[in-house]
Amino acid sequence: MNEQTARERLLEAVLHEYMEAVPNPNYSALVEWIRRYPDFEQELSEFTVTRSLLQTLPAPPDEETTDKRALVQRGMSVVQGILARQSASATAQPQFSSLLEAGKLRGLSIHDIATRSRLSVALVRKLDRRLLHYASIPQAAIELLAQTLQQQISAITQYLQGGPSLAQGASYRSEKAPTLVEPEDFFEAVRNDRTLSDEQRHFWLSLSDSHE
């Protein structure tokens, strides 16, 4: 599966909102959106030009349209191809049961993971045990972890969405089964983490404004 870069994800989100806000191609609206997103001038322009063509060009005569049954069959053969590729790659897909284990496989200690991902050891532990609320984790953290652990972004995303786990190797004396605490907000954890450097804290908190 192709991974998307942060820019591609943002572009897709911008195009979705552009389509919602501007249902029909419109020059003034395009100019306004380019003013808002100058980095996407080319993409927004190309997109609008194609929309303008598709909207304006005359529909083909009925006799030129393809037989629907043939189209569906063609589409289904594409679907079968995707399913076959997935089956073939499923067995070859590397798996990991925790972020720390994924790091170990790359020869990285927890300190290495923390440093390379601009996090603290404590935050890496919390992420590893999925003690942080997934929806609060910024995309940048997921991407940095994926880069550090040389994993696909989707694999990290999937891991972080799992249920919280108990600390590995911990022993519990109580007769009651240990209970897990409610997941913590990522930015709250950053604010409370005294081991983060000022630079690291500032980096993460600067992302909190755009994160709801």
């Binding site: 020059y27 190309e46 997109f47 529909a59 569906v72 063609r74 589409g75 995303t157």
Partner: protein, 258 residues
Amino acid sequence: MELQPLTRRTKDSALYRRSEEVDQQIRSALSMTPEALVGRAHIANKDSPDYLKEECLVYLIRESHRSGQRVMVNALAEILIERCASHIDVKLRTLRPEVAEEAFQDVISSMFDVILDLNSDRGDFLQVRFWRNLELRIINAFNRSVGQQRRAAKNVPLSSLTGQEIAPSDDESLSTSSQELRDTTLTADELALCKDALNTVDEPYRTAFILHHYHGWPIESIDSTALTISRYFNKTPRTIRNWLAKAEGALLNWRNEE
């Protein structure tokens, strides 16, 4: 019943959400037997209370795939393709037939790649606004076809897609008189008349003509950073006026022949 949450975010970092109607349809569908569910998914009348929206079908295909129900995946995928195949085909019909065929497969592939990828949330928007997302995929496929054709035949923008004659290289050299290079404004009636004949105009003249006359793009601006047809094509305003004159000439020929 707990449904799989969407994890994709908007540009403002808010999580995408399915509509309440789609969530209800999903819950109702999941409580049915496989046979009954496929029967219900086959209902094509949008006004029927049992009609399952496309956003709901996307969710059900993913869930069937997650639980390894290959037969159900195939049945629901086929129904989803049946619903949108003609829509995609008509949109891509302005491409040359063999290019249109590839672009059709490109759209289906891009859509099912993300629907069937359970490790990714790239397809979340298909559960929120299916038809909008499909339009985005059609436009992207159209643009990819254009790009491939351009790379395959350098300096032939757009032309090769349409099955038309390739436009002469350019245009500064065209000996068009200043009279022909005036800016013209066409009336609504004239534009309506021209519309049927647009397929007789070569590219890139046709795109320039459509942008200028149907969508109000200016040819040039005193502000060099402003979006204009000249900036979009990276050509001088004089060249663009030449192109417009060419398009108008082709349309005039068509009218005279009619």
